[in-house]
């Protein structure tokens, strides 16, 4: 009983930030799209590359400094180690909700048919190669390739 409109839906999500709190919205939106039967691909660029970088994906941090909604003053949030503490607390809360880790989310996305792409320019800037990336990444593409892929898609920038 899928509606014809749903059958043709497609979203392109751009993930440009590498914080734990910044990566999850992209990953969850992508997963929800696949669950709803919507074709989906995610384009990781700039700091977002960390989310698909093998050595970084398990160590995504939360930056509380300068965040006006953070539950602590910026002076405290800027102390050394505070990112790690905040990330640890957020991961604990996510685990309580049975949310998969970022790495598991990438795996689920890949298995559910979402396509993950890395930005070529950002890869050059950060001096990373295909081997630095997690295996779920389908390809390294340019902004032009992105537009070709996004043809007919709704684009979400996070």
């Amino acid at each position: 009983m899928e509606t014809t409109h749903e059958a043709h839906r497609k979203v392109a999500i751009i993930c440009s930030h590498g914080g734990l709190d910044e990566a999850y919205p992209s990953l969850i939106l992508a997963n929800a799209a696949r669950q709803s039967g919507i074709e989906c691909f995610v384009f990781f660029t700039f700091w977002g590359l960390d989310v698909i970088t093998e050595k970084k994906v398990d160590r995504l941090h939360v930056n509380m400094a300068g965040n006006p909604t953070a539950p602590m003053p910026t002076m405290v949030a800027g102390l050394p180690g505070m990112e790690a503490v905040a990330a640890h607390m957020m991961k604990k809360q996510m685990a309580e909700l049975d949310l998969p880790s970022a790495r598991d989310m990438l795996k689920i996305l890949d298995e559910s048919g979402a396509q993950l792409y890395a930005c070529e320019l950002a890869m050059k800037m950060f001096k990373r190669t295909r081997d630095d990336l997690v295996p779920e990444v389908k390809d390294i593409i340019t902004a032009g390739d992105f537009y070709d892929l996004a043809d007919g898609a709704q684009i979400i920038f996070t």
């Binding site: 669950q35 049975d98 689920i108």
Partner: protein, 317 residues
């Protein structure tokens, strides 16, 4: 006959009157005697009294009383009887406060402290750093502690006060200016969102958030009611033949692997009254996400839920 009766009546009255006049004359005589005796005494008393009053006047009592009456007038101008009554109620507290404030040790503290005010030339201007340095001195630390506890008590008392008259003060204000805003609804009255009953919200992690919407029937097929998004309106109506019919409608043929997944979802729903989403299905069936998407390529969570006769699964994962 009548004339005689009148005369007798008149005579009786005259008798009575003469007795009264006699009494009056006697009284008058006594009064005269009294005045005669009293006048010298009174003169003496007046002389003494004048002397005394003069002395009092010289000592300034009258000037004091005059001033006092002026004060009283001022007080009367500014205060109503009601205020004074209220003062009467507070007088014990006032006296207590005055007694506490006038204890010798308190007065000596005030005296010491005011010395700083009488000799301001001895105090040198300081900045932020000076303040921080000063805060290391034990005297300053003690003073700060005292002032802080004073502030704390003032705050506590004023909070108690404002809590105390909030009711009638607000009511009075509202009577004068009209209610500023609508009263806030009580928590208990606030209706829970209809699609997430409280009991169901409390249960379970995000992967099995329930979706027990009050089912609204949108279509009826062969006597079976469906919601607008294609789920059974009444999950208890589910049977295996019905599941096969729904699956056919979804373009899915139910083989053994697919049946296993449907049974997982159905069993979970019957046990917990929660529609399983994809993550929960992977945990229940042991299949991978990829397997599930291969069995039901299009929105597997929803498709499985439709075939298993459960509501639409909730949650983002």
């Amino acid at each position: 006959m009548i004339a005689t009766a009148n005369n007798q009546d008149l005579a009786a009255r005259l008798d009575a009157m003469s007795a009264q006049i006699e009494w009056l004359v006697e009284q008058q005589r006594k009064r005269d005697e009294l005045f005669g005796e009293m006048t010298p005494i009174l003169r003496e008393v007046m002389a003494t009294a004048t002397e005394r009053l003069d002395a009092v006047e010289k000592r300034g009592w009258f000037a004091f009383a005059r001033e006092l009456s002026t004060v009283a007038e001022r007080v009367l101008d500014h205060y109503t009887a009601e205020d004074v009554r209220a003062l009467g109620g507070a007088i014990v507290t006032i006296l207590d406060t005055v007694r506490a404030l006038t204890r010798p040790e308190v007065l000596s503290i005030v005296g010491e402290a005011s010395e700083a005010l009488t000799q301001p030339e001895r105090a040198e201007p300081i900045g932020l750093m000076g303040m921080m340095r000063a805060s290391k001195q034990p005297d300053v630390q003690k003073g700060m502690a005292v002032l802080l506890s004073l502030l704390r008590n003032v705050g506590r008392a004023s909070r108690a006060l404002s809590d105390g008259d909030r009711g009638d003060a607000k009511a009075r204000l509202a009577a004068v200016i009209g209610p500023r805003r609508k009263p806030r609804p009580q928590v208990a009255e606030r209706a829970l969102p209809s699609h997430a009953p409280a009991a169901a919200m409390a249960a379970g992690p995000a992967c099995c958030t329930p979706a027990s919407k009050p089912a609204e029937v949108a279509t009826v097929v062969d006597g079976v009611s469906f919601t607008a998004d294609g789920h059974l309106a009444d999950p208890t109506q589910w049977t295996r033949p019905l599941a096969e019919r729904i699956a056919a409608g979804q373009g899915v043929t139910l083989d053994e692997a697919r049946w296993k997944l449907i049974e997982c979802a159905r069993g979970e729903f019957e046990k917990t009254n929660v529609a399983a989403n994809i993550r929960r299905l992977t945990q229940l069936s042991g299949l991978s996400t990829r397997d599930i998407y291969e069995l039901f390529p299009k929105a597997p969570g929803r498709t499985v839920a439709r075939i298993a006769g459960t509501p639409k699964p909730a949650g983002c994962i």
